[in-house]
Amino acid sequence: MMHARHEDDEGAQVIRLASARHDGGEAGEPGGDAGAGPGPIERGIASGLAFLRRRLAGEYEVDEFGYDPDFNENILLPAARALYEHWFRVELEGVGNVPAEGGALIVANHSGTLPLDALMLSVGLHDHARRCVRLLGADLVYQVPVLAHLARKAGHTLACQADAARLLGKGELVGVFPEGFKGVGKPFADRYKLQRFGRGGFVGTALRAGVPIVPAAIVGAEEIYPKIGDLRPLARLLGLPYFPVTPTFPLLGPAGLVPLPSKWMIQFGEPMTLEEYAAEDADDPMTLFNVTDHVRENVQQMLYDTLLRRGPAFF
């Protein structure tokens, strides 16, 4: 069991701070470890300047998917981490079930009207499992300005067979939300009820790549923007899958975009190795349906368990 709370778990906290200082010590001053060297503020400034210099000169690497680790670790993750630790107070369970290395497919439920659960999942896995999860996003993400390149810089890519297979083949940890828009945009009344798991394409991908499926249940995201209505004509006009109405949005305007501070728990289940199947079974629709149902039941069961353990939604 691992927690992100300061008082509960010092180990996780120490790892994170060490990693945050890692590149500062490397690029900045020599002999910073001696203890008598520059203090945390100086080190922070030095690493900030080193980061700024790298960005201005373009001296950083991106992979073929557009993943920019330098930008992700220094800008995107710290911003999301503030939400993760202080707003949603995320607790992780079963982090040991996430393979420490090699390819694996994380299959999680999707909820929250805006996909903040994807962001929190990647912070949790980065800080506590030391893995960068590469999520598969809807094509809408890649059509929206700004979001398109931020998603790529954070290491995510389009949900398609080719990209998933390529990432898994390189031994990356891939995350997928098979419910898609049906899950993230479901009404508040349907909270914690899993929607249809797409067409089961993720099972075929895992079978072909020979990687385990790690089920994950994310509890708490359902309450951040309780979707009590949907302005369909407006959604159609804007080309969006839905236009949500929450108790605060669009009533309070931009202030309605502040998520409610629900208490989150993310649980990772036992990896499903799929060893009883061969790679050729990926072409057998019945096998795919069966495995998909099995994974879905697994995630649903984990959701109910975690929901019970969490207790009240906001405390």
Partner: protein
């Protein structure tokens, strides 16, 4: 593997015809080929006289849109045709470029089909055939179909050219045909819509998008074309330098000032540049590429040739920047200040 398929004779190129020889790539390839002692004759054709000396390459001024090209192929007993005539620039009128690209290719392929001596065809195509769209897979392999097929410009021409080449392959199965889909060429000698774009005083980028780009260095491109001509490697191959650069990253490395502009106004901006400052406009396919980018997988060509490009994407771009003497804008100076 595929190198052993086809007829068993040692299909060494002896008389090579290079189209588009008056332009940069054609001239470079002609030079590389004439240095090979196994090749008896290199014949270069183009519609305009060459701007640089061609050495022992025999230049014939002929329009490949006319049947004149067939006469040259039959009278010189050409056995290998290297077709580099794809015009990618937007400087000439579109209708003329399209005619040169498509009708020229049809005439050339028709002549190859008739010729009893023809044994090999090497075609320069472009990675633009994959198009650029937000629904693209992150990396295109040779087997992937475009998600949104290109509908305009030289990208569409390249698709049509490849279609005619496939038609020829069906009718002349004895020919060894190599089709090369190149990423954007870059290097000290390259003059293309891309290099002109990068040299704009202030480079407009598409607001909210940061495409992944890939480049191939001119030296690597010439080497691949040379190997494909003197060796037997039938098939369709992607050619690009290893690695990826984001547009913002490339512009920062080149020290170019850039300004994000909403997509609709960027083409207007480009058109104004063309009209008033003599710069090239933004063709729709260039604009799409600058919005969504494109990455191609080069594993197949590296395996087939047992060769890796000398320049990765980053190195190729750095070579271009160094040769152009770009750099020195405020952000780059600030960066060097911070380094010191």
């Amino acid at each position: 593997m595929p190198a052993e398929s086809g007829p068993a004779e040692p299909a060494a190129a002896r008389v090579v015809l290079v189209t588009g020889v008056s332009r940069f790539l054609g001239a470079r390839v002609a030079h590389a080929l004439q240095a090979d002692p196994g090749i008896e004759r290199v014949i270069g054709v183009d519609t305009v006289p060459p701007t640089m000396p061609l050495g022992r390459t025999e230049f014939v001024r002929v329009d490949i849109r006319t049947p004149g090209i067939a006469k040259i192929i039959s009278s010189a007993r050409v056995d290998t045709v290297v077709h580099l005539n794809l015009v990618t620039s937007a400087s000439a009128p579109r209708a003329k470029v399209k005619e040169l690209n498509v009708i020229g290719t049809m005439q050339l392929l028709g002549a190859c089909q008739r010729s009893p001596d023809a044994r090999k065809l090497v075609v320069r195509s472009s990675a633009a055939v994959y198009g650029s769209s937000p629904m693209d897979p992150a990396v295109f392999t040779e087997r992937d179909e475009p998600v949104e097929a290109p509908t305009s410009g030289y990208a569409k021409d390249a698709v049509e050219v490849e279609g005619y080449v496939r038609g020829l392959m069906r009718r002349r199965s004895d020919l060894t045909v190599s089709v090369l889909r190149f990423a954007n060429f870059i290097g000290p000698g390259v003059d293309s819509p891309l290099t002109r774009y990068l040299r704009m005083p202030v480079v407009p980028t598409v607001l909210g998008f940061d495409p992944r780009l890939q480049f191939v260095h001119e030296d690597d491109g010439v080497e691949v074309l040379r190997r494909m001509t003197v060796e037997n490697h039938p098939g369709c191959y992607n050619v690009a330098g290893d690695g990826v650069l984001l547009l913002s990253q490339a512009l920062r490395r080149a020290g170019r000032p850039y300004v994000p502009v909403p997509a609709p106004s960027i083409s207007l901006f480009g058109d104004m540049g063309r009209r008033f400052a003599g710069m090239s406009g933004f063709s729709p396919e260039l604009l799409r590429w600058l919005t969504y980018g494109r990455v191609i997988d080069t594993a197949a060509v590296e395996k087939e040739l047992g060769w890796r490009p000398k320049y990765g994407t980053e190195a190729a771009f750095a070579d271009f920047v160094a040769a152009q003497g770009l750099g020195g804008h405020p952000a780059a100076r600030l960066a060097s200040l911070l380094r010191g």
